[in-house]
Every structure is written in C-alpha cells, then in structure tokens.
C-alpha cells in the first residue's frame, strides 16, 4: 500500500452512522492493507481529547461535531480528513464509506493536495 500509514476514526458506540456503517469497514480495510487503525470514542474520557484534537485540527469542527469522522495518516506524516457522517441519513453515510473505500486513496493513488 502506497501512501497510507494509518486510519483514524472518531465515533461513538451508540451511533448507527459509526457502527456498523463506518468503523467496521474502515478497520477491515486497515487490516487488509496492513496499516494502523485507531478509533476514538467520544464518550470515553481517555479518548475524547484525542478525538477533539483531530476534529479541531483537521476535520469538520463544531461544538457538537458530527460523527463519524475519518482521517488518513499518510506516510509523509500528514493527516487528511476524508469523511464526515451524513446527517441526512445512515444510507448516505454508508454510501460515502463505500465510495471512499473505492477511491484513489485505497488503490495506491492518493489525490494530490
């Protein structure tokens, strides 16, 4: 796999946009590619600080921000926000995850920044 070093996902256990829609497929992809996988539960006091840091620094920040949010840590050390859940409905989030997993990011041809 060229480009991606790890996948990071901000989520909550109760959120249907997160489970099983986003976290599980992203984790499976990380396993398939042999790259790191890190998930941050916003209801876990030990993980929420990192979740907030990722979203505030690189994602779609708001006081009550959307979950899930997916970030790719690239081999050059950069972090890229690549997906936020679709408040419109779980079906759109599911489609977004499926599209992301079929995107150039995961065929070794990450889009230029």
């Amino acid at each position: 796999m060229k480009g991606i070093k790890a996948i990071h996902v901000v989520h909550a256990a109760w959120c249907p946009h997160c489970h099983p829609t986003t976290v599980e497929p992203m984790k499976a992809k990380a396993t398939e590619l042999g790259v790191g996988f890190y998930d941050y539960d916003i209801d876990n006091p030990e993980q929420v600080e990192k979740a907030d840091e990722l979203v505030r620094g690189y994602g779609d920040w708001a006081e009550d921000y959307l979950i899930p949010q997916v970030f790719l840590e690239m081999e050059d050390g950069t972090l890229r926000h690549v997906l936020s859940g679709y408040s419109e409905g779980v079906e759109l989030t599911k489609r977004g995850v499926e599209n992301l997993l079929k995107s150039p990011y995961f065929d070794g041809d990450a889009p230029a920044r």
Binding site: A62, L66, L83, V97, A112
Partner: protein
C-alpha cells in the same frame, strides 16, 4: 459569473446526491427533502409539515448566514445557538464523483430541530413547521395540526 456557476453546481450536486428521506421525529413518518432559497437550502419536512432538519449547501462555510437564516425561520421556538450548528465537508471521493483533485466539492451546515440542547417532548412546545404551500416557515405548538401558515390560512 464563475461564483454563480459554482453555486449552481453545488445545488445540482445536492439535489442529485444528497436528497434522501429521513424518519420524522414529530410523527415517526417519512420526512422528504424540500428546497428553499433557490436550492441552497434543504429541509426535511414530514406530511404534517414539521421541519426536522435544515441544511445549507455552499462552496464555503458561512455559519453566520446559516445562523441568520435558521434564527429567522425559527423565531418563537426555543432559540437557535451557534453550538446547535454542525458542519460537514463533502469530497469527490465520498460523493462518488469522478474527480481526481483533493478539492472539497461542497460544505453542508445542519440544524436539527429538537436535538440535544433543545430536546423536548412537550406537546405544547413551540415548534417549526413549513407551510404546505411551500414558501414560508411558521411556528405553532407541536400538538397543533395546522399545515398552512397564518397568511395562507386567512387568504
């Protein structure tokens, strides 16, 4: 001119890729998407005309404009605060568009009625509805069944 074309593109993408029904928190039925402001605003509205969600689509985040719009619509309800707004970036790869750039295709700003801070099941709470004639918001107690705004009811 270029800006206009970009905005047109945003509204076209919103209509083609972001239009979906949602479960209404008011009646449990299906809230369909309707549009206002030339398509730059999407509303999830149930057959009873309750507004579950307001979404603004744009090339950039303009939360002041969005807040102004929602506050104007929801005047007389529990109020709208900046912290009630959530935002999202949509990219070519998650929308499934065949573009190879890393550019953000559009931004969405969301306001959801009866969510977190304003969550209330009180049937007397003042709630936001969208007139069945499709051109104006109105506020009435949640338990009321009017589907038309005052102006349309009296005309």
């Amino acid at each position: 001119m270029t800006v206009m074309r970009l905005q047109d593109n945003v509204t076209e993408i919103a209509r083609s890729l972001l239009a979906t029904t949602a479960k209404c928190q008011h009646c449990g039925g299906q809230a369909a998407i309707e549009y206002a402001e030339g398509g730059s605003v999407g509303l999830h509205v149930c057959p009873g005309r309750y507004v579950s969600r307001i979404i603004m689509y744009g090339n950039e985040l303009d939360t002041d404009r969005f807040l102004g719009y929602v506050r104007g619509a929801a005047r007389g309800t529990q109020g709208v605060e900046a912290g009630d707004v959530r935002v999202a970036s949509r990219y070519a790869w998650d929308l499934g568009l065949a573009r190879k750039s890393n550019d953000i295709v559009l931004k969405e700003m969301y306001w959801t009625q009866n969510y977190r801070r304003t969550k209330s099941e009180d049937p007397d709470r003042m709630a936001l509805f969208f007139c069945a004639n499709g051109d104006s918001f109105f506020v009435q107690p949640l338990k009321n069944g009017e589907r038309l705004c005052d102006k349309c009811r009296t005309s």
